[in-house]
Symmetry: C2
Subunit: 354 residues, 2 copies
């Protein structure tokens, strides 16, 4: 397969972890005979510094012309510490999501056997956890009409959803469930919200075309509890924007390491892959950042294009590195491996795949 | 002090656990020379059976004439299994909250030393946790305008808040913090929502009158993480209705036993106290239901009326029962104590207070 991949490494540790993901992708290309073409562009604080714009035109058009975007991280203390700054690195990411129409955010949560000790949850609870959250990313209350009366004493936010917005992400979630353990959980608040009732109606209707997938429903408050009490019950979770924000952040901590968590944002014609961690400026250039989340986001990229075996090869290489304790110090304090060494080890494992 | 207390024991295990709370309150009255008058009334399924109405007029007027309402639990399988039933037990509770103007829900979360094993969180994380959530209960998206277009393809829910709605609960939360560890955390999503920005503005402004209380802010998605990663950091959490629903349910499971969790719902002139658990129909009449949540709701009642020492006496008696393993089988499988025996033991401890 030929893929044109835009590399937006961004700020802080973004470039160093993304470099490891590229190593893995190159190793995959070699082993499986694919042709991946990488082209870099600026985004975030480094783009502001160079052009004044967190998402320069050239970057956007490169992304539009590419099959996928491999994203690093953005953000720099000089902007974080200046709340009055009008141009901010994060705007680059938001503008990119919007311009590319990335309406679905995908977040896998997996408990790795060697890292159960790191979880805040007891071993018997977190063990076996392996689910993916499909969060609607461009609708709902975050993007609805906002009002403040002229006296500044009454404020409102509108949550709105249309059938079409629900259907397009629901199809993706059902298809994902089909490739996994065939269970889809819709998280909503249908006992109270009109939008949730629409979600429930549309998803239930669509479920009839995915008869092999078991569909169940969970109110968001109950979901917040079940995530702690019994996270291994979940396979694919589908939910609207704000519930997804809360639930997926809650889900991100139960595994015990944010340094392992990748994500994808998918639209009609574009897809972007990134670690969920930030730019971690304090660690920049020290060769201590954990590259695994970025490497796993490369695996998600492969899976997105139907390259299941290739994605699994990266997954297995990562699991092997975890087993052998070839990890950065955030996972194993006494480790002598740095970002580059972990990246090399994983790429080497991939290269040795027969 | 003279208090007129309406007792709405409700359905299922409601009556049996409420009876234990009354025992404790009577013991307190004896020890401290108070006069508590208890009057019973129907609510929920039993009220539907008797009158056709889950909140009969006589019940509401009794509550209006009382200083406080001691509430049990409502719900019966014959209604749960019939989603088409137009008259439902839960309507009794919603109507009561609305009629009494109970705009604040208060939920304490506490990790008891003898029960740390029951928590889904690791001991070192849950240990020392002791916070209270103040949740706005009558505004926000749950009560805002709901719309569905005539084709049934576009739905919306409006989240609205006014300065006044925020101020009245914020005062209660600041006052509570003052009586505790003097820290108040506002949970919002002020980086995205207009209503959250109003919450932040109003609460920040009000904070100037509570200089002894440290005010901080947390986005709701981060709060959902912090509740798992480091719950002992919290003292008083203040938040709007829907965030409070999610966060307080999440908080309810970290302690490990829902059978210990009490709550209060407070309005301008009324206040209601209840366990957070449901009517648990399968356990009804078997003398196995845990009465502690109901007994702790009685302690919250006392605290509400400024009877701090009395509330503490109940708390201490409960802690003594936990230490001595005088608990129902949900907390200790081999226990031979039932609902009544636990209630008697706690009332007895209170009676022996000098
Ligand atoms: Mg978030
Ligand atoms: Mg709830």
């Amino acid at each position: 397969m030929k893929l044109k991949i835009a590399v937006l490494a961004g700020d802080g540790i973004g470039p160093e972890v993304t470099a490891q993901a590229i190593k893995s992708l190159k190793a995959i290309a070699d082993v499986y005979g694919h042709s991946f073409e990488f082209q870099e562009a600026l985004v975030g604080a480094c783009a502001i510094d160079a052009t004044g714009n967190p998402l320069p035109k050239e970057t956007l058009s490169l992304c539009e012309q590419s099959d996928a975007v491999l994203f690093g991280a953005i953000g720099h203390p000089k902007y974080d510490n200046d709340p009055s700054a009008k141009v901010r690195p994060e705007q680059g990411l938001l503008a990119l999501r919007k311009s590319l129409g990335l309406f679905t955010n995908i977040r896998p949560v997996k408990a790795y056997p060697t890292l159960l000790e790191k979880s805040p949850l007891k071993r018997e609870i977190i063990e076996g956890t392996d689910f993916t959250i499909y969060r609607e990313l461009t609708g709902g209350i975050y993007f609805g009409e906002k009002k403040l009366n002229s006296e500044g004493t009454i404020a409102s936010d509108l949550c709105e959803y249309s059938e079409g917005e629900i259907e397009r992400i629901a199809h993706l979630a059902f298809k994902a469930a089909r490739q996994r353990r065939k269970k889809l959980t819709l998280v909503d608040k249908a006992n109270v919200l009109e939008t949730s009732r629409l979600w429930r109606k549309v998803v239930t209707q669509l479920g009839k075309s995915y008869e092999d997938v078991t569909l169940d429903y969970l109110f968001v408050d109950n979901a917040a509890m079940q995530m702690i009490l019994n996270p291994s019950q979940f396979d694919v979770i589908l939910t609207e924007n704000m519930f997804g924000d809360i639930i997926s952040d809650e889900g991100s901590v139960i595994g015990g390491s944010i340094g392992l968590l990748a994500s994808a944002s998918v639209g009609e014609g574009s897809a972007m892959f990134e670690p969920i961690h930030g730019s971690y400026p304090q660690a920049t250039g020290k060769n201590i950042a954990n590259p695994i989340a970025s490497i796993l986001s490369a695996a998600m990229l492969l899976e997105h294009f139907g390259l299941k075996e290739e994605a699994q090869t990266i997954q297995s290489a990562v699991e092997f590195a975890l087993e052998k304790n070839v990890v950065t110090t955030d996972l194993h304090q006494e480790s002598t491996y740095g970002t580059i060494q972990v990246g090399d080890f994983i790429a080497h494992c991939i290269a040795e795949t027969d």
